[in-house]
């Protein structure tokens, strides 16, 4: 007899998923072999700069485009062989809206529920339920063209969950929202997890990935460069981050600090005029650094000590800052 302990099942499982696009310039590999494993009930974040392959991966998993190669199982159904079953079990909230400005919020919800096979009566009950949960009752019978950005985004999410999917895909759910609406959206997403829905979202906001996601994967140029919990990823950076303003003498400073025994890794960002070091104990390293720089005749314009952020993780894996990419 096996133990009755429930085993956390896998909701999304991909093996070497690929997608190429033909353009006039030639063939572009937007997704170049992605392996993902997302467990049931997780909020999984897919982090990366614009054009990294986030949306392409999401659209493949949501049956909107077919993979060029690779295998995937979504919500227990085979993506290639049972796309119709996948559709029945997932919800998808596209980037940039999904509603007609002339249709009312209630009208959109009822239609969506009916397209998923519900009877008219069931659809009306379910629409009213969702309008109440998402605090859209007052605007329910107005055209969605009159909604604020935050309200429209909440309605988009409502349309994605109308049939109680096992997995909900959210493409950049908070892009373009003000901080208040963003916090509100995070709350709604956490509520979904409490109800047992697996949430797979893409984002290029580091704060969002950090605060909201149980686990995340970082994607760059169509490949996953890191995967794990936010803490695990930060630990991989190994140590603290010291950033020194070098005022033009970056290359020499880099040579100097690379020779120091406590510096694990160093890099020079000439454009920003910064040298970045990864050290084990930042607090004791900084006085050493300052003394050595002084002795060698360098006058740093600034010096900063930080605990590693997801941006450092990204920077370390790709050599670029996500903050700059997203800006």
């Amino acid at each position: 007899m096996t133990s009755p302990t429930p085993i956390r099942s896998t909701m999304i499982d991909t093996t070497d998923l690929r997608r190429t696009f033909k353009t006039r310039a030639g063939t572009v590999e937007a997704v170049a072999g992605v392996d993902l494993h997302v467990g049931s009930g997780e909020i999984f974040g897919f982090l990366g700069p614009n054009g990294a392959g986030k949306t392409t991966t999401l659209r493949m998993l949501a049956t909107l485009i077919t993979p060029t190669a690779g295998e995937a199982t979504v919500a227990g159904a085979d993506l290639r062989r049972q796309p119709q079953l996948v559709r029945q079990r997932i919800g998808y909230v596209p980037q940039g809206g999904s509603t007609d400005p002339a249709e009312t919020g209630r009208g959109e919800l009822v239609l969506q529920a009916r397209l998923y096979g519900m009877s008219k009566g069931d659809a009306q009950v379910r629409a009213a339920e969702i309008l109440a949960v998402l605090d859209l009752e007052a605007a329910a019978d107005r055209g969605t063209g009159t909604y604020s950005g935050g309200m429209r985004r909440r309605l988009d999410v409502g349309l994605g969950i109308v049939h109680r999917p096992r997995v909900l895909f959210l493409d950049e759910p908070t892009t373009g929202l003000d901080p208040q609406a963003r916090a509100r959206m995070w709350d709604e997403i956490r509520k979904l997890r409490e109800l047992g829905t697996t949430v797979f979202l893409t984002t290029h906001y580091l704060e969002e990935a950090d605060a909201l996601c149980d686990r995340l994967a970082i994607i760059d140029h169509g490949l996953i460069v890191a995967e794990g919990t936010s803490d695990q990823l930060k630990q991989k950076v190994a140590g603290d981050v010291v950033t020194i303003g070098v005022n033009g003498s970056g290359a020499s400073v880099l040579t100097l600090v690379e020779a120091m025994p406590f510096v694990r890794e160093a890099s020079h960002d000439a454009e920003a005029g910064l040298v970045r070091l990864y050290v084990d104990h930042g607090e004791t390293a900084v006085p050493h650094l300052l003394r050595s720089l002084d002795a060698a005749g360098f006058a740093p314009t600034s010096i900063a000590l930080n605990k590693p952020s997801l941006d450092d993780v990204f920077l370390r894996q790709t050599g670029r800052s996500l903050r700059e990419e997203a800006a």
Partner: protein
């Protein structure tokens, strides 16, 4: 079976349906949605017949004098009005793709593609909406023409409307296909304009093709719309024995089948 699996299956309200049932049901849902949204802005229904009404009022009287010379039979309006109705059928539906491009931009189409709904229903629901709007416009147009001296025959008008519906079922699916492929008004408008204008001019809607030189009459005879116009005119005037009825209806119906088939495939393509 685990408790979780039981709970999950009990929350499902989905009823199993055969694919054909699903297509019919989804077609009705999309038809209903799009017609409600169209009726909310009734001004477009009127806009759609603005030009034909201008032709009726400002060009019709001129024709009335000219047609007598060309020998087109009884009333010039009985010859002219069926042509104007075909013009509405062609123009009104050819530009239907504009609405679909807007829906693409709103994200509505993508949202629906992720549901298990029938792809064919996305096309048929919208095309049937176009048919209903067209027939409403045709009815308004016919009534407006009565004061000008139009002779009416109920059976003839009903059958003419049938031909108009067939024309819409050729043009609307092709328009939606083009819209799905092009995805932009800037590319869509010139394409439609470039196809519709020559079709219209070659169909003998404004003046009888009997007046045309041989080469132009030949071009007109290979234009399928010419035969639809001839059939509509014969039906409108209850010329039941006219062979153009059979030819026009057969050509238009065959084209409608082909157009719906092509457009269903476009809607069904995974990456469109």
């Amino acid at each position: 079976m685990t408790a979780g699996a039981v709970a999950r299956s009990s929350t499902s309200t989905t009823i199993e349906r055969t694919p054909r049932m699903r297509t019919l049901r989804d077609t009705w849902l999309i038809f209903h949605r799009s017609i409600v949204l169209t009726i909310r802005q009734p001004v477009w229904i009127i806009f759609g017949i603005m030009y034909p009404v201008l032709y009726l009022v400002l060009f019709g009287p001129l024709l009335n004098g000219a047609i007598g010379a060309a020998g087109a039979g009884t009333s010039a309006y009985n010859w002219f009005v069926p042509g104007l109705l075909v013009q509405i059928a062609l123009f009104g539906t050819a530009f239907g793709g504009f609405g679909l491009i807007a829906e693409l931009r709103y994200g509505v189409v993508e949202r629906m593609r992720v549901t298990p709904m029938s792809r064919t229903a996305m096309l048929l629901g919208r095309s049937l909406r176009d048919v209903v709007i067209l027939l409403t416009q045709a009815l308004i147009m016919t009534v407006l023409a009565i004061p000008f001296g139009l002779h009416l025959d109920a059976a003839g008008i009903a059958l003419t409307f049938g031909v108009l519906a067939l024309i819409a079922l050729v043009v609307a699916p092709l328009s939606y296909s083009a819209a799905l492929i092009l995805k932009s008004e800037d590319a869509f408008a010139p394409l439609v304009q470039g196809i519709v204008m020559p079709l219209l001019l070659l169909s003998g809607i404004l003046l009888p093709m009997a007046l045309a030189p041989d080469w132009l009459r030949f071009l007109s005879s290979i234009n399928p719309l010419t035969h639809a116009v001839d059939a509509a005119r014969a039906l409108f005037n209850s010329e039941w024995g006219n062979p153009e009825i059979r030819i026009g209806v057969a050509i238009t119906a065959a084209l409608a089948v082909v157009a719906v088939w092509i457009a269903s495939r476009t809607f069904g393509r995974a990456n469109a």
